[in-house]
Symmetry: C2
Subunit: 255 residues, 2 copies
């Protein structure tokens, strides 16, 4: 039975997509069966693995709003993991889904028939606590929160935890926190160190041991449509995400 | 009559809030009357100028959803410009506003009575092409698009222009493009130079001459609740935003 991980944080640009793609690629490299689902209308997780938009391709829009079976939308990538791509029509989904029954549970219902085909299902969420992200949280077993080591990102965490408590109460009682992941850590600035220290003091064991450094190879890789371990395997970014995958697996054994 | 500038880009973390705050502060420093309106539920423009949440304070939530007069929500800051703060209840506004008549024009109607009190009104938009951002675009005279010099940010621009064309056709025929602003430019990486060159080639005179460098003082300033010109006036970040304000003023004279 797949473990479903939602990668979410309403703060923009904190490394959600970069984490979703590179964690998926690293887990697949370690021989796990992985499905990456892009529920962000920006479709960065889709283009970041080299999938170009094509008219006939089914996407998360068709799955969530038009209720087509998710099997029709699954693509295999060159990186040993599968992808359900997104497309920009999803931007209108918020308004189109408002009147549907069980509008928060559409993704969970769509994933149910295929969960036993994978070990991990990873959901890349948009930068908002909107209906798409709520669908992701309602469908997930646990939440992985990328947090940039900067001030605004620190501020948003308590709001995310408020939302989490609401989701647990109303939609998904088993939803746990997989962990808080420090991203874009820049050792040359006091700011990163100060924010990281704050987060570790405040949230202690919820924070992953693995910290993702700011590393330009992570920002270059998507322009080649590749996860960083296929773009520059020896880079600090690739090593950090590989280490994260191992930490996620080790935690998985414990529960 | 105030010129209303929407600072928008659905890509997260590209420097929208940083641009909104520091452009407002620089224009005010040059003796213009400025109002900053925060329409992002994250309320980063609010905390970035040192305003803490308080129960009795009116916000853009009260103005847009409860239709209270905007005058009740205007605060003066210590930095010679005024602010309409946001609050997290705005996150639910998307669903609460869907059934209101003229739901896309709520902000434009709210701003109309106070436009002659200011020279510039600056709108900080959330990272989505949702009803809040559409309200911002419908209320604006022009759109300023911060673009991080990285791959995903480049991808989102054409989608934003599609939305812009739709807004112009349906809601706001006079909406112009103030300019594309290159942000977080890191001279030490090829990536920044390559993306900047792409943008200048493709969009040519739409791109501001001023480029905002990656500068840690810009990321530190919000944790002190100050615009960067009040935190470290001689920093490259402060100088760049001051230069941007002068360029916006020079363009304004031309039209
Ligand atoms: N550790 C890192 N080092 C350097 N650059 C990074 C790192 N992680 C992500 N980036 C780059 O920073 C930008 C933001 O990252 P990303 O797009 O993954 O964030 P996001 O949270 O998914 O954004 P959004 O909120 O728009 O969905 C991207 O251009 C990405 O390539
Ligand atoms: N030129 C810069 N140099 C260094 N850091 C910057 C710069 N501009 C912005 N930052 C920092 O980068 C992060 C993202 O910027 P900001 O929050 O302004 O982007 P945004 O587009 O408003 O994000 P969101 O999409 O969440 O609204 C913040 O932590 C900010 O302090
Ligand atoms: Mg993303
Ligand atoms: Mg912002």
């Amino acid at each position: 039975m797949a473990k479903t991980l939602a990668i979410a944080n309403q703060k923009g640009g904190v490394g959600k997509t970069t984490t979703a793609i590179n964690l998926a690629a690293s887990l697949a490299k370690l021989n796990h069966r992985v499905l990456l689902i892009d529920i962000d209308p920006q479709a960065n997780a889709t283009s970041g693995v080299g999938i170009q938009r094509s008219g006939s391709q089914r996407t998360t829009y068709h799955v969530l709003v038009l209720k087509e079976p998710i099997e029709n939308a699954i693509l295999s990538t060159e990186f040993s993991f599968d992808l359900v791509p997104s497309d920009r029509h999803l931007a209108g989904a918020e308004i189109e889904m408002v009147d549907l029954a069980d509008r928060e549970l559409l993704l969970r219902a769509a994933i149910a028939p295929i969960r036993d085909r994978y070990d991990f299902i990873i959901l890349d969420c948009p930068p908002a606590l909107n209906l798409l992200t709520i669908n992701g949280l309602a469908a997930a077993d646990s939440l992985l929160v990328p947090i940039q080591c900067e001030y605004y990102a620190l501020e948003g965490v308590s709001e995310l935890f408020n939302t989490l408590a609401r989701i647990r109460r109303l939609l998904n009682p088993q939803l746990k926190i997989e962990g808080l992941l420090l991203t874009m850590y820049d050792a040359s600035t006091n700011l990163s160190a100060a924010v990281a220290a704050d987060l570790r003091n405040f949230y202690s064991s919820l924070v992953f041991q693995t910290t993702i450094p700011r590393n330009v190879r992570l920002a270059e890789a998507p322009s080649y449509g590749k996860p960083v371990i296929y773009y520059d395997q020896r880079s600090r970014g690739a090593e950090a995400y590989f280490q994260l995958a191992q930490e996620v697996l080790a935690n998985d054994q414990k529960t």
